[in-house]
């Protein structure tokens, strides 16, 4: 079994079978992360480069751990320490890295399409670790993994994605993946945060959170970019929290046993009440834990090491 592709840039072109393969591959690595010695030699002698043009702790650390647990050599590049500040283009930077025989480049960039542009220009495999508002495929895959781990079946699963969908790469990747697997995706937020035609991607649009939560088994909260206040997307954080913040009361509107997810970092008291974030229904830390296993699976599949 293999993915039969050089790069993982977005979930839009993947088939349901591709997604299932990734999740199944992650299963075996999840087992590894539970061992006392959390390391396998699968990628020994391979080089993984984390090329992060945007600040990120969680995703970068997760990829770094994943690569190390596969015994790969890992290099971290970040813009402040690289030649990017000297005006080198993304492609030139990547070609230099490639010339040092990097097998896999993990890219985080603030521009939509950066990973795709990079993948066209280098022979190394490219994994998109988030490009602008476009996609964050590995985040969505670890979300799916976490849902599946809770014993929920995707076919007919009702999922509410809540918040600033327009500016969210996590939302886009999840809408694509969940729809492919047969889930019913609801997107919820103020109309100012709904991208044009999102319903045509297969999501149902709600402006009222209470309405949207009825009968869902998964509540996926998005991080509110606080700096967007003052850009006419929402009047105040106070009003946003009142309308779209997930409270314990609201969780009761969902299916009993519904799980609460968040890609992090969370704004306690804004999009999610502290008691919800810390409740039994919250799987936020499981997402983080699963992130390593899922990324191990992806690195393994992309390396062609199988």
């Amino acid at each position: 079994m293999s993915l039969k592709r050089k790069d993982l840039l977005s979930l839009a072109p993947l088939s349901a079978d591709d997604i299932k393969l990734i999740l199944e591959t992650a299963d075996s690595f999840k087992e590894v992360t539970g061992r006392e010695i959390k390391k396998v030699p699968a990628l020994r002698g391979r080089t993984v480069v984390n090329l992060f043009f945007e600040p990120s702790t969680r995703t970068r650390t997760s990829f770094e751990l994943a690569a190390k647990r596969l015994s790969a050599d890992v290099i971290n590049f970040s813009p402040s320490s690289s030649s990017v500040v000297k005006g080198e283009t993304l492609l030139d930077t990547a070609r230099n890295i490639e010339a040092m025989q990097a097998d896999i480049i993990v890219l985080r960039h603030s521009s939509a399409g950066a990973a795709e542009a990079l993948a066209r220009g280098v022979k190394s495999s490219v994994i998109n670790a988030g490009d602008g508002w476009h996609e964050h495929p590995t985040q969505a895959l670890l979300d799916l993994y976490t849902i599946r781990e809770r014993g929920l079946a995707f076919e007919g699963l009702r999922v509410a994605i809540v918040g600033d969908v327009a500016h969210s790469r996590v939302a886009r990747s999840n809408i694509h993946a969940l729809s492919k697997l047969g889930a019913e995706v609801r997107v919820v937020g103020p109309p100012t945060m709904m991208p044009w035609g999102v319903d045509k991607l297969g999501a149902r649009v709600y402006y009222n959170l209470d309405e949207a939560l009825h009968g869902v088994q998964v509540i996926m909260m998005l991080r509110l970019q606080l700096e967007r206040q003052g850009r006419a997307l929402f009047p105040t954080i106070r009003e946003y929290a009142r309308l779209y913040g997930l409270t314990a009361e609201r969780v009761k509107l969902a299916d009993p046993g519904a799980i609460v997810m968040h890609p992090g970092p969370i704004n306690r008291g804004v999009e999610i009440a502290p008691e919800v974030a810390d409740s039994l229904s919250s799987v936020i830390l499981d997402q983080v834990a699963n992130g390593v296993a899922v990324r191990m699976g992806i690195l393994y599949l992309m390396s062609g090491a199988n």
């Binding site: 283009t89 490009d131 508002w133 476009h134 991208p195 044009w196 035609g197 991607l201």
Partner: protein
């Protein structure tokens, strides 16, 4: 000195449309008609099966000099123009420094004379530095040779400033050209706002960003009586409003670019920076509306918005890459495609590239009338060729049409009675 072009199908839109001969003498059109005798020593060009038309007039090019000579110079831009059949081009003022004063205009005209290829006519800025605040010295610009005024690329957002510019322009009978875009609505956008921008996660520019400014400009033209020319309209809404404005007798002309009637936003998929321009490529519906506007005369002019950029600039990410594509060397076949589609007659298509733009800016160009400057293009409307950017005369290669198989080629371009371009003979 004399040139006799024999046996071609001569189209001088609105004046002459028949097979005949064209005699050029001392830089002027000397005679048009059947069986003209060649004066002694005249160069004879056989044009059997060819079209003989006025050299094209492009109201909208960016030649980047002064300031961005690595993208294009007046020399390379003019070479690109004549290779595309254009004998007169109007240069937008967004150079560095901005063409907002007589000295820059004179510099551009001097460079154009040195190039000696096409008629290069500068367009002056509306406001100082194109900052949208204070009026530029429009009287000086006009006197120095500017044929219109525009803050292209940096639309005048302040409606009062735009009103005053239109009023002031009346004194010089100079057309006011606006790139219609509400910068607040368009903020940060880099492609048309719609399903594709949603899928790609790219910030969108809604059609409304153009429409609201077209509405404003039409209202101000009505208020002031100024001559308004709308650059590169791209939306169905713009076409509708211009049609309505014309029906009410408002002095407005409009141009469309070949890419806006040939391509849709679909081409952006894959984050193709060669499909990034402003206004952005729109939807199929908009393309249909543009074509209908060209057909019914709502859109007077076809202009290229020739916007050269260096390869390293277009190789950046989609959001960082600059807007714009080169257009001078692909305009003819893309325009003739409208003839094949049945939208325009050949004469109407040629008119959009010659008579109509000349009229919009009151240029004594775009005609083969006896006594006119002998600016002529000889075309093979049936010649098929493949667009190969490496062969462009332009310094830049940024076109989304690379590899397209197109029909209609420029064979010879004549400016003021001098042959300035001859297509290389293909073995």
């Amino acid at each position: 000195m004399a040139i006799l072009i024999q046996g071609g199908h001569i189209i001088d839109p609105g004046r002459f449309n028949a097979v005949g001969d064209l005699l050029i003498d001392r830089g002027k059109v000397a005679a048009v008609g059947p069986d003209i005798k060649a004066p002694a020593g005249a160069t004879k060009i056989s044009a059997k099966g060819r079209l003989v038309v006025p050299g094209f007039v492009d109201l909208h090019v960016h030649f980047r000099e002064p300031g961005f000579e690595y993208k294009e110079t007046i020399q390379s831009g003019a070479a690109s123009a004549v290779a595309g059949g254009f004998t007169t081009v109007c240069c937008m003022p967004n150079t560095n420094p901005v063409n907002d004063n007589q000295a820059i205009t004179e510099f551009m005209l001097e460079r154009a004379r040195a190039a000696g290829l096409a008629n290069v006519l500068p367009i002056g800025a509306i406001t100082k530095g194109s900052e949208g605040k204070e009026l530029a010295e429009i009287g000086d610009l006009r006197r120095a040779g500017c044929v219109a005024i525009s803050d292209d690329g940096k639309p005048v957002m302040n409606s009062l400033v735009m009103r005053r510019a239109m009023e002031y322009a009346l004194a010089f009978d100079v057309p006011v050209v606006d790139h219609c875009e509400d910068l607040h609505l368009a903020e940060g956008g880099c492609m048309n706002e719609g399903l594709i921008s949603t899928e790609l996660g790219l910030p969108g520019i809604p059609a409304a960003a153009e429409d609201v400014m077209v509405a404003r400009n039409v209202s101000l033209a009505e208020l002031t009586g100024a001559r308004l020319h709308l650059a590169h309209i791209s939306t169905a809404g713009s076409v509708r409003m211009v049609r309505e404005a014309k029906s009410r007798g408002i002095k407005v002309t409009a141009e469309a670019c070949p890419h806006h009637f040939t391509l849709t936003e679909e081409v952006v998929r894959g984050f193709n920076t060669l499909a990034k321009m402003n206004p952005p490529l729109r939807t199929w519906n908009d393309v249909q509306a543009i074509k209908e506007g060209l057909r019914d005369g709502t859109i007077d002019v076809i202009a290229t918005d020739h916007a050269p950029h260096a390869s390293q600039e277009k190789q950046q990410g989609f959001t960082e890459a600059p807007f714009g594509i080169v257009g001078l060397e692909t305009a003819l076949p893309l325009t003739l495609a409208l003839v094949d589609e049945g939208i325009l007659s050949v004469e109407a298509a040629i008119g959009k590239l010659t008579t109509a733009p000349a009229k919009a800016f009151s240029l004594s160009k775009g005609t083969l009338a006896v006594g006119a400057d002998a600016d002529v293009a000889i075309l093979d409307p049936q010649a098929q060729w493949e667009v190969d950017p490496s062969k462009f005369r332009s310094k830049s290669r940024n076109t989304p049409f690379a590899g397209w198989k197109v029909k209609g080629a420029v064979l010879t371009t004549i400016v003021a009675g001098r042959i300035v371009f001859e297509a290389p003979v293909v073995a």
